[in-house]
Symmetry: C2
């Protein structure tokens, strides 16, 4: 095993930060490292936090960190922001309100953004969680910004997923809610001091009464006011109940299946970095060829 | 050329609907059809409409249809809903407010949702736009639901992209806005009769003053109140100005490059449908193997 791996396993922060950068930039040494570290993982719990924009996810995450640190747990935080493909790093970079934790060596915070069209954020997030696990973090919080398919996929890769909702949002948000309803292991109604919390809880319960989960789990609904710390301990104990249930193994198998899909997708596309997309696009625009023929030829050429 | 292709080129609605279903289900005959039709395309304009949840995108689309029909243009509408991976069709199905156009043979409306983990919605949307182009639609409106990376990618594939914003949204929405700022060819401030429209316009202008686009285009800002039809004609004429500018060719090349990437991604993953993800996940959980070794072996085996 390399010195680097030893340092990470020993909890060396600088070694960990360097590894995180290598993973993010998909450097070849990152894969060697991850492979070395993998047998030493499996101890930390990954908690995904997703929900509508404006639901107060970041404030919640901030409170979760405080709570977990109070229980003497070490924490890793990954902020996933696939809506900002244009910034070099993540747009929300080192978010100001998390700066308070930066002085705390037991908290490791990293923002992740998509880079380029072929970017596989789910694969990178998985790799990063493996790293944090190896570095001895007890809990890895994965916060997603936005509510698209990517975020849903990433939140699903967690051991437990919290879906954060707020009272009094409009119709479109209801539609989005329907999309993320089925990935919730725990519902958090944040800003629950605002009008409509009661009604929102009724709506969630109504949806839950319509269908039962394969694993029989009925996701608890916890009310919070993250801004003043209400309901934080309850949220985490709801997560703990979920993690301690009997069917955890099935979920872990399902999770790794999905993670493998993402990693495969990533690896496949890496082999096609030398294609001349622009020249092909010009052929298409001139109607000298068509995209179906071009792509078929690319795939066939690469298969041989 | 097949009878089916002839029928679609002649504008036969039933043949078109059948083709749309074949494309959505990724049936092999769809590719043959698309390849036959492709030389007859390139006439219609694709307009992407994206923006925050609750911004009133659907109402806008509805008004655009009315306006375009008034100009005697034929219209195709694709509603892309990647946030609902769990429904067989799209969650918003045949959206009620669009039913008024269903009787109009010159309007073809289709909802699209993601199916399964390896789903390539961007590729399917491109294929569907090719179909509608071949069927003689003058304009194809692509409305995305939600604001994730997928939606951004799909909206970018259009010939012109409208980003819809509304006054008075919170912090997270501002963050999302930053993510979609750079794909806007036209900004629409909808619900502009609400407080904050002025300020939002100033914010957009402030962002625009910070950076200039490669193509020199300064996206116009149009205020609308879609619910009573205000600003609809102005929005479309802003789009028209964009489509008629000199640098349209560059954008078309860039668009087809991105579309090719999506199609390639799609085709590559199709070859891996027989992998046993579950067995692999169990090996990983038992730490008998690691995901990096497994994926590398899959890729290598398939390459030979």
């Amino acid at each position: 095993m390399s010195d680097w791996s030893h340092q990470i396993l020993a909890g060396d922060l600088r070694a960990l930060a360097r590894a995180a950068t290598a993973v993010e930039n998909r450097r070849p040494e990152a894969e060697v490292l991850l492979q070395e570290l993998f047998p030493h993982t499996g101890k930390s719990k990954i908690i995904g936090i997703t929900g509508s924009p404006g639901a107060g996810k970041s404030t919640l995450v901030d409170r979760f960190i405080h709570q977990l640190r109070g229980e003497n747990k070490t924490v890793g935080v990954l902020t996933v922001d696939p809506t900002s493909p244009y910034t070099g790093g993540a747009i929300l970079g080192d978010r100001i309100r998390m700066l308070s934790h930066h002085a705390d060596e037991a908290v490791f915070i990293r923002s992740m953004a998509t880079r380029g069209c072929l970017g596989g954020l789910a694969a990178s997030t998985t790799d990063m969680a493996v790293l944090l696990d190896a570095a001895g973090k007890d809990v890895v919080l994965v916060e997603t910004v936005g509510v698209g398919q990517d975020e849903v996929e990433i939140a699903r890769l967690a051991d437990a997923t919290i879906v954060v909702l707020v009272p009094g949002m409009g119709d479109d948000v209801q539609a989005i809610k329907a999309g993320i309803m089925e990935i919730a292991d725990v519902f958090v109604i944040n800003k629950s001091d605002q009008p409509g919390a009661e009604q929102l809880e009724r709506e969630i319960k109504a949806m839950q009464s319509l269908s039962t989960r394969k694993d029989g789990w009925v996701p608890p609904i916890v009310r919070t006011v993250a801004s003043d710390g209400q309901g934080i301990a309850d949220s985490l104990s709801a997560v703990r109940s979920f993690l301690e249930r009997d069917s955890g193994k099935d979920r872990a198998v399902e999770n790794w299946s999905m993670r493998l899909r993402e990693m495969l997708r990533e690896r496949l596309l890496e082999r096609f970095t030398d294609l001349n997309f622009q020249a092909a696009a010009e052929e298409i625009l001139a109607r000298r060829s068509d995209p179906y023929t071009i792509v078929r030829e690319w795939v066939e050429r690469n298969a041989n």
